[in-house]
């Protein structure tokens, strides 16, 4: 397949000036919505994503109750204005699949057995979309879970790596995702060294597969330190927090 656009310059820099293993700018803020039990906002490249958590709460309809653990509900949803062409507000097949893999990426980190017969809702709203929106969404969602005081084994954090101009690079942006030849979103529990999400698109030699995968994990750990800072800022900053929120 022809790749007309050169995505890596003579100087080894990518179109936005990054080195092959460099992350885009990321900022994280925890506790940004008033009504939600927990929330977090992430700016990652051009991604702007809000995640919020409600629960544990009663399960409706009742036949979905899990007797021994919490039911985790997730929705990954894109605002109509979040992409270049206006998106129909109805959920696409892509959004339905991503909602499922996000749920399966978060559940392993939640002590669902501590909340039998309840529902925990995780809403991920993509206000502006860029490459790597699902891993950015997971990164924000696990902060929102922590903000809601849900018992967790570990945070979940992700990064997407891939291949452009036959080179493994970290953290694809929108152009690199579309024009490049491979995208590999990975989410991990960094302290437990477990992978909770893995999806692969593209063509990878066995060597490149391993390189991209290990790079994704390494960069995920880098994002994890930003997650911790954001949580620390939320709970241990100088500003006094309202009691019910820091409890």
């Amino acid at each position: 397949m022809p790749e007309p656009k050169k995505l890596i310059g003579e100087d080894g820099r990518r179109l936005d000036g990054r080195r092959w293993d460099e992350l885009r700018p990321i900022s994280l803020e925890v506790g940004v919505l008033k009504n939600a039990d927990g929330s977090a906002y992430i700016n990652w490249g051009k991604n702007k994503i809000m995640a919020a958590v409600y629960g544990p709460k009663e399960v409706h309809p009742k036949h979905q109750v899990l007797p021994d653990r919490a039911l985790l509900r997730t929705r990954y949803h894109m605002a109509p204005f979040s992409v270049d062409e206006r998106k129909n507000p109805a959920p696409s097949r892509r959004e339905i699949e991503i909602s499922k893999v996000i749920r399966e990426a978060l559940v392993p980190a939640v002590l669902v057995e501590d909340y039998p017969r309840t529902a925990i809702e995780v809403w991920v709203e993509v206000l502006q979309s860029d490459g790597g929106s699902r891993v950015a969404g997971i990164t924000a969602a696990s902060l929102a879970l922590a903000d809601a005081g849900i018992n967790m084994r570990d945070l979940v954090v992700g990064c997407s790596c891939g291949i452009i101009d036959s080179t493994v690079v970290a953290d694809l942006d929108d152009t690199e995702d579309k024009e490049g030849s491979g995208d590999m979103p990975v989410a991990i529990m960094p302290n437990l060294n477990q992978v909770t999400l893995l999806q692969v698109d593209g063509i990878y030699t066995r060597e490149n597969f391993q390189k991209a995968f290990e790079l994704a994990i390494a960069k995920g750990r880098e994002v994890y330190s930003m997650q911790r800072d954001a949580l620390a800022k939320r709970f241990f900053s100088g500003e006094p927090q309202p009691m019910e929120e820091s409890a």
């Binding site: 008033k34 605002a79 204005f81 062409e85 507000p89 709203e125």
Partner: protein, 271 residues
């Protein structure tokens, strides 16, 4: 979206509210005709042609404008299209659910749409590129991010601010073809309609009810006025009533308060 859950607590709280109102006071210390603080941030979504996050107290709304081209309606061949949609995101409230727009969200979008449309805020004739063939289509999508009462006004302000700051590609007709140019031009905004919503408690009207007040109010009336103090849209809401005299009182209040808010929105969206 009102949060009626515990009838006993609600009844007691409502009695308190009425007692306060009889002394000219509200639960959050505001005067009866005082709206909550409004903040406006524009240009927040770079992929949109225009966008604004507006907070009205703790209600928070994000509006994004997307502009494309398309065919006009057959009966208005010389006018562009303007469509307002709203979704109350499930993250905005414990009572919001994912799924197709609720009755409330549809009413909200349509009332805001009428305020924009009837005031002739955007000159739809100027959105015509080739009569009968190609016009601008302007979609304004609203995401409700946090619900704390009076979504009508918060949404209206967000849509107005997003449109006032939106830019669209220029088009030229070259060799009978419509060609997109690299230049941009603002959306042709002619007016700044302002929606003001009042809640009735017994015989008192209060401006801009917050979430707690909405839970206890008897009814709601939204009145949108334009730069000249004309009424251009209104909607009574909730399964209760209002006297004719109160309607006129509400109109006067809306014209007066609308003037203040208009000045603030215009200021916040100056280029």
């Amino acid at each position: 979206m009102s949060m009626k859950k515990n009838y006993v607590v609600e009844t007691i709280r409502k009695a308190q509210m009425l007692e306060l109102l009889n002394r000219g006071k509200r639960v959050d210390e505001r005067a009866l005709d005082q709206h909550r603080e409004i903040t406006v941030q524009t240009g927040v979504i770079q992929k949109a042609n225009g966008s604004a996050i507006v907070t009205l107290g703790d209600s928070q709304v994000l509006a994004g404008v997307k502009i494309a081209t398309g065919a006009p309606f057959p009966d208005t061949p010389d006018k562009g299209l303007l469509v307002v949609n709203a979704e109350i995101l499930p993250l905005a409230s414990p009572y919001a659910e994912p799924g197709p727009p609720s009755e409330e969200a549809i009413e909200l979008a349509r009332v805001v749409d009428r305020g924009i449309r009837e005031s002739e805020m955007v000159d739809l004739h100027k959105l015509c590129i080739v009569e009968g063939k190609t016009v601008y289509t302007v979609f304004v999508d609203v995401n409700i991010m946090n619900v704390d009462g009076n979504l009508f006004d918060a949404t209206s302000y967000a849509v107005v601010c997003a449109l006032r700051t939106a830019k669209m590609k220029k088009y030229a007709i070259e060799n009978d073809k419509v060609v997109m140019k690299d230049e941009e031009t603002p959306v042709p905004v002619e007016k700044t309609p302002v929606s003001v919503t009042l809640a009735r408690f017994g015989d008192k009207l209060v401006v801009d009810p917050n979430g707690e007040e909405e839970g206890a109010m008897d009814m709601r009336i939204t009145i949108t006025t334009d730069d000249d103090g004309n009424v251009c849209a209104s909607q009574k809401g909730e399964a209760s009533t209002i006297t004719p005299a109160q309607v006129l009182e509400a109109a006067d209040t809306s014209i007066r308060i609308g003037r203040e808010i208009r000045a603030q929105l215009v200021e916040a969206t100056k280029s």
